[in-house]
Symmetry: C2
Subunit: 438 residues, 2 copies
């Protein structure tokens, strides 16, 4: 008999990152990196558990946790096999609750909450299968993968038949690419030098360290002041030389005209892409910015769902698609986005950092390489060297490449002692800080 999912625990975990300005940018001056952390408990022998999370930057983490709890009836009490045996159906159920849907639809808090649960069920499925998620996905047939996607609102750009066709075209080289991935790892780039709160000296020092560590791409936050950005861009360019790519990231700071003027001013220092130049909802503005200045355009970490990604591709508004493991509704919706990007021939360079986003999203890029786009040319996963020590299966980045995870699951488990210390507001880390406020 199949074991049962006996309970869903949801924990508000927060790290006081605002104290060091790690993660500071033009729109997010003081983030406390946080996770609404999900643990699916089962009665399987050996204590099988499924882990997932939604990343937030502090306030509101409790709201996401409460929303995940409101979705528990979809999972609790079901047999593990009924969930892991049909991960397409569960994803659709979670994203189409007829009442919660009103609060999206398919966006914001309710969608992120669904994503955390979906990802936790993928962790469970991969552990059951004894494989890391990337390998579990890459071992499925084109038809099985295609059935994980919800094609509603996609068929003007991607049908199930087209998805199967894309996946079949990538089937022949799977074994070879898997071997190459294990040998070389997946390309990474680093954002660690470029946070807006860092001094020039810290920026230059970290940029040089990044190059010494083998990175061929770094990223700087921009959008505070144009003079500062020109100086920082110049310093970074001098530090890394002409051959290292320097992406810049405005975190949604600008309107169309400002973006075009600002990027035209930075262009002589050859930024590789401009990331999030404006609102993540603004497909037409991204298209106008892409057409109006010489630097390539990237976005995605705040793009709410597959419908907006579809339009960014249809409107030729982006040169790079930046999926995020924990904003859309988990693995299933990200497969739709990988397929859309493959259809339109646009490379996927995931957003990561935060809490556990590197750990999660590496699986999706590796799956993309092995079984969807079949390529890593022009692609790299963001890497930020924060908070990995709190994970039981942390990412390993060596010589600027992500080593493929080998442990079964989704690499989403947070160490029990880290959870205990950082529970909000009752964990000791927060009790000490909140003091008399509690």
């Amino acid at each position: 008999m199949s074991p049962t999912i006996t309970g869903v625990e949801v924990i508000d975990v927060r790290f006081p990152t605002s104290e060091k300005l790690d993660g500071s940018d033009a729109m997010n001056p003081d983030p406390d990196y946080s996770a609404a952390y999900v643990v699916l408990r089962t009665d399987a022998p050996g204590g099988l558990e499924g882990h997932g999370l939604c990343f937030t930057i502090g306030r509101g983490n409790d709201v996401v946790a409460a929303t995940i709890r409101s979705l528990r009836p979809y999972v609790e009490g079901r047999t593990v096999s009924s969930v892991t045996g049909d991960l397409g159906s569960l994803y659709r159920e979670l994203t189409h609750d007829s009442q919660l849907r009103w609060l999206g639809p398919e966006k914001g808090v309710v969608h992120m909450a669904a994503g955390a649960l979906v990802n936790a069920t993928w962790d469970l499925a991969a552990k059951e299968a004894g494989k890391p998620v990337w390998e579990l996905l890459a071992s499925m047939t084109p038809e099985e993968i295609a059935d994980l996607v919800d094609y509603r609102y996609l068929t003007d750009a991607l049908t199930r038949d087209e998805a199967v066709e894309i996946l079949r075209a990538a089937e022949p080289g799977r074994a070879e690419r898997t071997a190459r991935l294990r040998e070389q790892g997946y390309p990474a780039y680093t954002t660690s030098p470029g946070w807006l709160g860092y001094s020039d000296d810290k920026l230059v020092g970290l940029a040089k360290e990044a190059v010494a560590a083998g990175f061929t791409q770094i990223k700087l936050k921009v959008g505070g002041s144009l003079d500062d950005d020109i100086r920082r861009m110049r310093l970074a360019r001098e530090a890394v030389g002409p051959d290292v790519r320097i992406a810049v990231d405005a975190n949604q700071r600008w309107d169309v005209d400002t973006a075009i003027a600002w990027m035209t001013a930075l262009a002589p220092h050859e930024p590789y892409w401009i990331e999030e130049p404006t609102s993540p909802d603004d497909i037409l503005a991204h298209a106008a910015i892409r057409a109006g200045q010489p630097v390539k355009v990237a976005t995605g970490e705040h793009v709410a769902n597959r419908v907006v990604f579809k339009q960014l591709l249809q409107a030729e508004a982006v040169d790079f698609v930046q999926i995020d493991a924990a904003r859309v509704a988990g693995v299933n919706e990200n497969i739709a986005i990988l397929l859309l990007a493959a259809k339109f021939g646009v490379p996927v360079c995931p957003h990561a950092g935060g809490v556990g986003l590197c750990e999660l999203v590496q699986h999706l890029s590796m799956f993309d390489y092995v079984a969807v786009s079949g390529s890593w040319d022009g692609r790299a996963i963001e890497y930020v060297d924060h908070l990995h020590e709190h994970f039981t299966d942390p990412v390993v980045v060596e010589n600027a490449r992500y080593r493929p995870p080998s442990a079964p699951g989704f690499s989403a488990a947070i160490r029990p002692e880290s959870v205990a210390a950082h529970r909000y507001p009752e964990g000791p880390v927060w009790r000490a800080r909140l003091g008399g406020d509690q």
Copy 2:
């Protein structure tokens, strides 16, 4: 000395509407119409209070209520005058909380929560001024109105200067239109006949009643089955005759091809508009549907924010803009949308119904008529005859026109006995239904 906002009470109020299939449509089969209801308490003599609400359809109402509570620090303890004297700044603070913004940005639960608070502060301001909200707005100068808007992400379509120009152009006729509004009321249309769960007989009976009551436009829900829709559309057309407009509403049911095929099949019965044919996020799909079949296109009740409305207008994707009083961030963001619609020359026909949406949104259309577009030609506010008895200042629709409210405020106050009865889950209405579950 100005009185102080001493507290923000947030109450989860739900009505068990799913029992009668009132409000049923192709995507929302079983709504329990609900409100996350906000009461701003003050220490002003006479018990001045500000009321606002976020409408939901049941599950998740608690999540919105919790999110509103997390925004209380922006309001609690402030003087009434510091809030009501600068309603532009407070709106920007509420929508740009540097941490909660991550959960949107400006969409879904966090945005709706901000909207409920913004609307409650408008109720407070209007009561202080001794005017209904529509009249308070219509008494402001073009510059004062223009300063209520956040132009971020709008300037490629609407600048503050252009907003002032639009408002100045409508200034001369304000007094005359106010008088005409008081005399004639604002046009309404009714959705009451057309819920998907109703029998053919009920549909025909209610459609005839609507015409007898003076309505020149009704609305039917569609999107369940094409055969049913053709039959229902034919029955409705026979019941109301050739001169009454019959709008249809698919509640996001379709992809592009299906929408075009379905509406082409319904077109012989002359539907007035097709509402929400597909995802509210899909600007390009709305444009394709508008271009691909003969029926006019309307959307808006689920459009997340002004940025998406802007694009629907830029892409010529809609013939009607359907604002909702409680989905975007309240009065301020709706003023931006009214100005965008005026700029593009597209009429605004608000979504209403739900809990209190008619009560709230009538103020915005009346303000639009007096001071923004200056016209009610081709415009009508949706009217649904549900739940008005629970409001202390319910809408008055006579001969298919909304009478302009005269009581100071935003008409958002729910009767205390209704709140007490319908509190979820502890009110007697729910205790009786939930029984042993609690």
